[in-house]
């Protein structure tokens, strides 16, 4: 028998029973492997119990025997909607440990890639919120621009989803002209698309009524629950790692942190849209700065740290030093200083932190990922309890939960 204590029945009414609904782990509306055991009174949720871990892959353990450069592919598989940010976060953590200073041009190129990834991620999240409220058109329409972003990744690193982009110290190769042409095309066409996307949703009555006042959280609760990223900013706290502890020369960029007030699904949607506009601004600035480099400087795409930066393959075959360093890096013979580093980047859904302890060996002694959505997903029962089942679906997608990241 179910626990009836939570339901107050009117005098003289017949006894009421609640329903237990197993939502997930594989359910088309959950967009990922999430399980929630819901206790329902009609369509109203009176209790939710989340289970996570269905795609746990023990990355932290695997990382303990991999050399540093082989951990990048593991980070791809955390938040796979914006893997370049995870890759860069990992490179930046290593560079902090190894005390590697990257040239400005590398920083700006990284910013371009990271902001493209942020746009791709926000685009998916917001359009999925649209899908869950009944509008498939927006989702399909913006997909072609995510595709364009993926083509840019492809030009830079050769892959699309799990990018493994860049190396410790910079990129594996310089951006090609095609990459810049595609970027220009994106910068030219995307504002119009985003505007149309906003026209479709922002003042759409069905969308507003489905999202406004649903799944809200106060700023103090959000902080207490460890919210970060757009979800925290939607609740009104202007915390952004890009501004609070700038990395990769974000301090050279001029942008604002959009914030919301109520922390509900509509605010989260609005904050993400506003962030996409800011990201566009950042990309434009970074691209202008990249174009200002002339001559030899315009060819710089990695830091001059031969001991840590994997050399180009053609050099390995023809140059002695490159061969030696290649051998040392691959065989794990490079000097890694012992140390303890916490480094974080502003991932698309929050503060993505890397806590790395090195004992001087070829692999980390301990590596811990602070995955933003693992931390804030625990607030989900509080957000949906008392609401309707169909609102819980929208809340879930508007939180931008990525199962791969949560389960690490």
């Amino acid at each position: 028998m179910h626990d009836h204590n939570n339901i107050r029945l009117p005098e003289g009414s017949i006894e009421k029973e609640t329903t237990t609904l197993n939502l997930g782990p594989t359910h088309p509306a959950t967009h990922g492997v999430f399980q929630n055991i819901l206790e329902l009174d009609g369509e109203r949720i009176i209790k939710a119990d989340s289970t996570v871990g269905y795609i746990h892959r023990a990355f932290e353990k695997i990382a303990e025997r991999r050399p540093y450069y082989q951990i990048t592919p593991l980070t791809d598989r955390l938040n796979y909607c914006s893997s370049p940010i995870n890759n860069m976060g990992w490179h930046l953590t290593c560079e902090k440990l190894l005390d590697v200073k990257t040239p400005k041009r590398v920083d700006y190129l990284r910013i371009i890639i990271m902001e493209l990834a942020r746009i791709a991620d926000h685009l998916i999240c917001n359009s999925i919120v649209g899908v869950d409220t009944g509008a498939y058109t927006g989702f399909l329409y913006v997909m072609q621009y995510r595709e364009l972003i993926y083509e840019i990744y492809e030009e830079v690193c050769g892959s699309r989803l799990t990018t493994n982009i860049g190396r410790i110290g910079g990129f594996e190769r310089n951006f090609t002209n095609t990459a810049f042409q595609k970027l220009e095309k994106f910068l030219k066409e995307y504002p119009g698309v985003l505007e149309e996307f906003e026209n479709l949703f922002t003042r759409n009555r069905i969308f507003v009524e489905r999202t406004k006042g649903v799944g809200g959280i106060s700023a103090s609760r959000a902080l207490n629950y460890g919210f970060t990223g757009p979800n925290l900013r939607a609740a009104g706290v202007d915390y952004d790692v890009r501004v609070h502890s700038p990395y990769s020369s974000y301090e050279d960029m001029d942008f604002i942190i959009p914030i919301g007030t109520t922390g509900d699904n509509y605010d989260r949607y609005q904050v993400r849209n506003a962030e996409m506009w800011e990201s566009l601004k950042i990309i434009e600035q970074a691209y202008r700065k990249v174009q200002e480099f002339k001559g030899a400087e315009a060819e710089v795409f990695h830091a001059d740290v031969p001991a840590y930066y994997l050399p180009e393959k053609s050099d390995v075959y023809t140059k002695m030093e490159a061969l030696i360093y290649h051998f040392k890096i691959v065989m794990g013979e490079t000097e890694i200083p012992p140390g303890e580093v916490y480094n974080s980047v502003e991932g698309a859904n929050g503060e993505l932190g890397f806590y790395l302890i090195s004992d001087g060996g070829r692999a980390p002694y301990r590596l811990h990922f602070r995955r933003p959505c693992f931390v804030y997903y625990q607030a989900y029962p509080e957000l949906v309890t008392g609401g309707m089942l169909s609102d819980a679906i929208v809340t879930m997608s508007s939180l931008n939960l990525i199962a791969g990241e949560m389960d690490a």
Partner: protein
């Protein structure tokens, strides 16, 4: 006046004295060790008096060679107003890894502690729901402890038809 590592250190030393030790600043982040039963008092002091209102992370590290303090629970805290981060550790013996739970101070500690329990077996005393979170419930060991090494990738004695070693 904004906080600096020195101010935090002075304030903490005034309050807790000898209970805190091993002061370090690796890569600029203030780090210290607290006596294992003081973690909540330290955290509460940091939150209420010094404005560390955001719990960034809880995790653990296993040092099998340190007798009596094999498990280190590591807390990362962030003061969002003065924008300063810090970290502190408490150590526990692996035979009796009891540490007080921080769920009363930060709701976010709930799953972080469950994860730490899941992988290291740290018993968070007073935790409302200390179950495994990422691993299966039937698991009877704590996989991130160093006593469970990963399988040797070069082993050749294993014949696996499906995956072809």
């Amino acid at each position: 006046m904004s906080l600096t590592n020195d101010i935090i250190k002075t304030r903490l030393t005034e309050k807790f004295g000898e209970l805190l030790g091993a002061w370090e600043e690796p890569y600029g982040m203030l780090t210290f060790t607290a006596a294992s039963d003081q973690n909540l008092k330290v955290m509460n002091f940091l939150k209420e008096e010094l404005g560390f209102n955001f719990l960034t992370d809880i995790t653990a590290v296993n040092y099998p060679d340190r007798k009596g303090e094999e498990l280190a629970v590591v807390y990362h805290l962030h003061n969002l107003v003065d924008n300063i981060r810090m970290r502190f550790k408490v150590f526990a013996p692996v035979e009796k890894p009891d540490i007080y739970t921080a769920t009363g101070i930060f709701s976010s500690a709930n799953w972080m502690e469950r994860e730490t329990y899941d992988f290291f077996g740290v018993n968070f005393v007073g935790h409302p729901d200390l179950r495994r979170i990422l691993n299966v419930d039937e698991m009877d060991y704590f996989p991130l402890r160093k006593e469970y090494p990963l399988e040797d990738q070069t082993r050749i004695d294993k014949d696996d038809e499906m995956f072809g070693r």
